[in-house]
C-alpha cells in the first residue's frame, strides 16, 4: 500500500513587512518584496494550530509531531497545546522535535519512514537584528502534513540525506538573533552535500529527473546555486512574499507545490540545513486545504516597520498604565480545557458581530484591544477579542472566524485562547 502524504496545508500569517520600509527607517538593510510577520499574539504553537486547522483531519492521526526552532516552552512539550486545540484523543501521542531548523524536514522524513499515521507540523518565527539579512529575508509561518498509508494525495517515492558537522549558522539558547559564518563558507559546504543527497534520492526513487523542485534553506546563496544547478523546469519560490520561514519552510514549500500539482507529477523537496535532505513524491491528486498557501499570500495586510519591531521585542513602546495580567492558574486551565483549548467545539464555526468596541485603556501587548460580542449559529454567544483586524472597517453584522492565539504571558506561562478575526 502506498505511503505518503494524506493531506497538507500551510499557514501564512496575515501581516506583511515591506522590505523597503526597513531601509526607509534605518538607511540600511531591507530589499524588495515582503516578508510574512506573525502577529503579536501568535507564536509557533498557535501558528501550528492554524496550519493543522486548514487540514481535514479524518481519520484522526496516531501521533502529532511538532518541530520548531522557536518553541514557546522548553522542558514542556508544545505539541500538547496543539493536541488540545485540535481536540485530539488522549491516546494520540504528542511530541516536539526541538531546536534546529533541520528538525522540520527531519520530522517529515521520520514520519514518512514510520508506519504510523502521523500529523507532522512545523512552525517558525524568524527574526534578526534590525537591518540584518535574517530580518529582511526571514519569514513567519507554519505547515502541516498528515502522513500515512492508503488514500494519499502524494506518494513518497524515496529520499536521501547527507550529514556533516560544520558551524555555519548558530544561536545559543536565549539569543534573540542567529549568527552566521562568512557567506562563501556555507556555499562550499552545502552545494556538494546537496549534490550527493540529490543523486542518492533520485536513485532511491528510481527517477532520472523530476517535474517540480522546492529548495528550502536559510543560506540564500546556496539555495540559489543549488536551484540553478539542478535545472528543474518548475520551482516553488516564496522568497518575494513570505520569505524563509526556517523550520517550517520545507513543508510550506511542499504544501504550495502539492496545491498546484497535477496527477503523476513528480515533486522533489530539498532542504539545506546542517546537511542536505531530499524527499521525492509523485502527486496523486491536488491538495485541497481549506485555504491554499497562495490564497493566504494574497489576503494580506502590511504592518509598519515600527510595529514589526515592537511585536518582536526589538523596541518596547510605553504600555497603558494598567496592571499586566496575572498568570493563568494551571489547575483552572486544565479544568476548563474543553472551553479554553477546544472552544466547546465551536472553533470552526462562523460567528456574527453583535456589537463591538475599541478599548484604548486596557492592557494589551499591542494596544488598543478590539473586542466584540459574537453570536454563533448554534445559538450561543461569546465575548471575544478580535485580531488581524482594522477597527475602522468593522461593522455590526460582520462575519468572523475563530483563530487560536496567545493572549499574554505571565510568569513564563503562556495564556492560549481563541480570538475572532474577520472572515476573508
Amino acid at each position: 500500500m502506498a505511503r505518503g502524504i494524506v493531506a497538507s496545508a500551510g499557514y501564512v500569517p496575515y501581516r506583511r513587512l515591506q522590505r523597503a520600509d526597513i531601509r526607509a527607517v534605518m538607511a540600511a538593510g531591507g530589499g524588495r518584496g515582503t516578508r510574512s510577520v506573525a502577529s503579536f499574539d501568535e507564536d509557533t504553537t498557535t501558528m501550528a494550530v492554524e496550519a493543522c486547522r486548514q487540514l481535514h483531519l479524518t481519520p484522526a492521526p496516531d501521533a502529532i509531531w511538532f518541530a520548531t526552532s522557536e518553541p514557546g516552552y522548553l522542558d514542556k512539550t508544545n505539541a500538547n497545546a496543539i493536541h488540545a486545540a485540535l481536540g485530539l484523543d488522549e491516546a494520540v501521542t504528542a511530541l516536539d522535535f526541538g531546536g534546529a531548523i533541520r528538525s522540520g524536514v527531519g520530522a517529515l522524513k521520520a514520519a514518512l519512514e514510520s508506519t504510523q499515521k502521523v500529523l507532522v507540523v512545523s512552525a517558525d518565527i524568524r527574526t534578526g537584528q534590525p537591518t540584518s539579512a535574517d530580518e529582511a529575508q526571514g519569514g513567519d509561518g507554519a505547515a502541516a502534513m498528515l502522513v500515512g498509508d492508503g488514500e494519499v494525495i502524494a506518494t513518497y517515492l524515496g529520499g536521501a540525506s547527507a550529514t556533516k558537522e560544520f558551524v555555519e549558522r548558530w544561536r545559543t539558547p536565549g539569543d534573540l538573533r542567529s549568527r552566521t559564518w562568512e557567506d562563501r563558507f556555507g556555499e562550499a559546504m552545502y552545494v556538494p552535500l546537496a549534490e550527493r543527497a540529490w543523486n542518492a534520492a533520485l536513485k532511491a526513487a528510481d527517477l532520472s529527473e523530476v517535474d517540480v523542485l522546492c529548495v528550502a534553506g536559510m543560506h540564500a546563496r546556496s539555495v540559489a546555486r543549488v536551484t540553478k544547478q539542478l535545472g528543474v523546469g518548475r520551482t516553488i519560490d516564496l522568497s518575494a512574499s513570505v520569505g524563509d520561514a526556517g523550520t517550517a519552510q520545507p513543508m510550506l514549500m511542499l504544501a504550495a507545490a502539492l496545491e498546484q500539482a497535477t496527477p503523476d507529477e513528480t515533486i522533489a523537496l530539498v532542504s539545506l540545513a546542517d546537511g542536505a535532505d531530499v524527499l521525492i513524491f509523485r502527486a496523486v491528486e491536488q491538495a485541497t486545504p481549506k485555504r491554499t498557501v497562495q490564497q493566504q499570500i494574497d489576503a494580506a495586510q502590511d504592518v509598519s516597520y515600527a510595529r514589526f519591531l515592537s511585536w518582536r521585542g526589538m523596541i518596547a513602546p510605553e504600555p497603558p498604565n494598567r496592571p499586566e495580567p496575572a498568570r493563568v492558574s494551571s489547575p483552572a486551565a486544565e479544568r476548563a480545557a474543553e472551553h479554553k483549548f477546544a472552544f466547546d467545539g465551536r472553533s470552526d464555526a462562523i460567528g456574527t458581530i453583535v456589537t463591538f468596541t475599541v478599548d484604548r485603556l486596557a492592557y494589551s501587548p499591542s494596544p488598543p484591544i478590539v473586542f466584540a460580542i459574537v453570536d454563533f449559529p448554534d445559538g450561543t454567544r461569546a465575548p471575544l477579542e478580535l485580531t488581524d483586524v482594522d477597527p475602522d472597517a468593522l461593522k455590526v453584522g460582520d462575519e468572523v472566524e475563530m483563530t487560536f492565539r496567545k493572549l499574554s504571558t505571565a510568569d513564563g506561562i503562556h495564556n492560549y485562547f481563541w480570538k475572532a478575526k474577520p472572515t476573508r
Binding site: P323, P325, S329, R335, T355, R360, A362, T380
Partner: protein, 384 residues
C-alpha cells in the same frame, strides 16, 4: 412583610472625595466617623470595601476597641451592601444601633481606573476595562431606538455637564468645575465612543450612616429618614453569553427596581421621588438607568435628558450632589455617599445653591457594580 418603615437613619456623613495622597484608609475612616453628628454608640458595624482592607479589623484598628465588625464586598455596591446588612441587623432586634461605613483608598494603586484583585482563573475571561464594557451600550441603544449620532452625543454630554454643574455646587466633590457639553464632546476617546469626560474619575473617600429601629429614631434625632426599601440583586453573570441580551438595559437593575418599588409601594416612579442618586460611572449608564428605573419609557431617556427633566431643578433631579462624575468612585464609599445626599436634601440641609424642592419626601439611591451582562444592583428608597 417588608423592611418598609422598620429602620431609621439617624446620622450620615461623607468625607470630601479626591486624591488623598496625604491620607490612608485609616484616616478616611476616621474622618467619616468624625462627621457623624450623633450621641448613639453602635453595637455593631458593617464595613463596605472592595479591596482597601480585609476583615473587620480594617475598621477595628481605627475604633480602637473590640466590636462585632463585618467587612462586606459586593463590587461597586459594597457601601450600599453595608447599609442593607446594618439595617437588617437592627430590624431583627439583634442590635439596637448599627453603623454602615464604606471606604476605598483607590489612589494608592498607581494605575489608571479601577482594577480588581486577580483571582486565580483559567485565563479566558474578558480583560476589558469597565469603560469599554459600558461603551457597548451606546451603539446598541442608538441602533435600537433610531437615535442619531448627534442626539446620542448631545444627550450623553448633557448628562456629564449636568453632573459637573451639580458637583461644582458641592464642597465634598472631587471635581468642582463646570464643564460645557462641547468640552465633554471634545475629550479624547478612551473606549468606543466614550471620551475621557464621559467617565467617572477614581477617588479616595469614605461615608457612613447610623441606623436604629424606627420606633427608637427620635431618641437620636428630630429629623430621621426612614428606610422604605432595600433591594439587592446579584445577576447570574450570563448576560455576556446570552444571545437575547441587547445592551440597552440592565436586567439586574430592573429586577432590583421592581423589588424595591414593591417594598415601598411605588407605582409612578417619575412623580414619586424628590430626587434620585444613580450610578453614573459612565454617561450611557445614567441614560439607561433613567429607563430601568421607570423614570421614562424605553427609548425616550435621551429626549428627557436633553429636555432637562433630570437637571438640578428639573422635574426629577438626578445626582443633585454631582454623582460619580464629580465625586469619583471610591468603590466601598459610593453607595453611602449617595445616601448622604438624600440625608441632606430631604432634611433641607443641602447648601442653598443646590437645595432642591423636597416636598415629595422620598429619595432613591441606585448603586451598581460589574458590567452590562454581569452586574450587581442595589436600589434603596428613603423618606421622611
Amino acid at each position: 412583610m417588608s423592611i418598609k418603615d422598620r429602620v431609621a437613619i439617624v446620622a450620615s456623613s461623607c468625607t470630601r472625595f479626591g486624591e488623598a495622597w496625604d491620607r490612608g484608609t485609616d484616616d478616611l475612616l476616621r474622618e467619616a466617623l468624625g462627621g457623624l453628628e450623633t450621641d448613639s454608640t453602635p453595637d455593631a458595624y458593617w464595613l463596605g470595601t472592595a479591596q482597601s482592607g480585609m476583615s473587620g479589623i480594617t475598621l477595628g484598628k481605627v475604633l480602637g476597641h473590640d466590636r462585632p465588625i463585618t467587612r462586606v464586598e459586593n463590587y461597586c455596591a459594597s457601601g450600599s451592601e453595608a447599609l442593607r446588612n446594618a439595617s437588617y441587623a437592627v430590624a431583627s432586634g439583634a442590635y439596637d444601633v448599627a453603623m454602615a461605613i464604606g471606604v476605598e483608598k483607590v489612589k494608592d494603586a498607581g494605575y489608571q481606573g479601577l482594577n480588581a484583585f486577580p483571582i486565580p482563573n483559567d485565563g479566558t475571561q474578558r480583560t476589558l476595562t469597565a469603560a469599554a464594557m459600558f461603551s457597548l451600550v451606546i451603539p446598541a441603544y442608538a441602533n435600537k431606538y433610531g437615535v442619531s449620532d448627534e442626539d446620542m452625543r448631545d444627550a450623553l454630554a448633557h448628562i456629564a455637564s449636568k453632573n459637573h454643574s451639580n458637583g461644582a455646587r458641592n464642597p465634598r466633590a472631587q471635581f468642582r468645575r463646570e464643564m460645557s457639553e462641547d468640552q465633554i464632546k471634545q475629550s479624547p476617546k478612551v473606549a468606543g465612543a466614550l471620551g475621557v469626560l464621559d467617565c467617572a474619575g477614581v477617588a479616595d473617600g469614605a461615608a457612613a450612616a447610623i441606623v436604629v429601629r424606627a420606633e427608637d429614631a427620635t431618641k437620636y434625632t428630630d429629623k430621621p429618614l426612614y428606610i422604605k426599601a432595600l433591594s439587592f440583586v446579584a445577576g447570574s453573570g450570563s448576560g455576556l453569553t446570552d444571545p437575547s441580551y441587547d445592551y440597552t438595559h440592565f436586567p439586574e437593575v430592573e429586577a432590583s427596581v421592581k423589588d424595591a418599588y414593591a417594598q415601598a409601594g411605588i407605582t409612578d416612579p417619575r412623580s414619586a421621588f424628590a430626587m434620585a442618586e444613580v450610578h453614573d460611572c459612565f454617561t450611557p449608564t445614567e441614560l439607561v438607568l433613567m429607563e430601568d428605573l421607570g423614570f421614562c419609557p424605553r427609548g425616550t431617556a435621551y429626549k428627557e435628558v436633553l429636555g432637562g427633566a433630570f437637571d438640578l431643578h428639573g422635574d426629577l433631579p438626578v445626582n443633585p450632589d454631582g454623582g460619580l462624575k464629580s465625586f469619583g468612585h471610591p468603590v466601598g464609599a459610593t453607595g453611602l455617599r449617595m445616601l448622604y445626599e438624600c440625608w441632606l436634601q430631604l432634611r433641607g440641609e443641602a447648601p442653598p445653591e443646590r437645595q432642591i424642592d423636597n416636598s415629595r419626601g422620598l429619595a432613591l439611591t441606585q448603586n451598581l457594580g460589574g458590567y452590562p451582562g454581569e452586574m450587581v444592583s442595589f436600589v434603596g428608597i428613603v423618606g421622611t
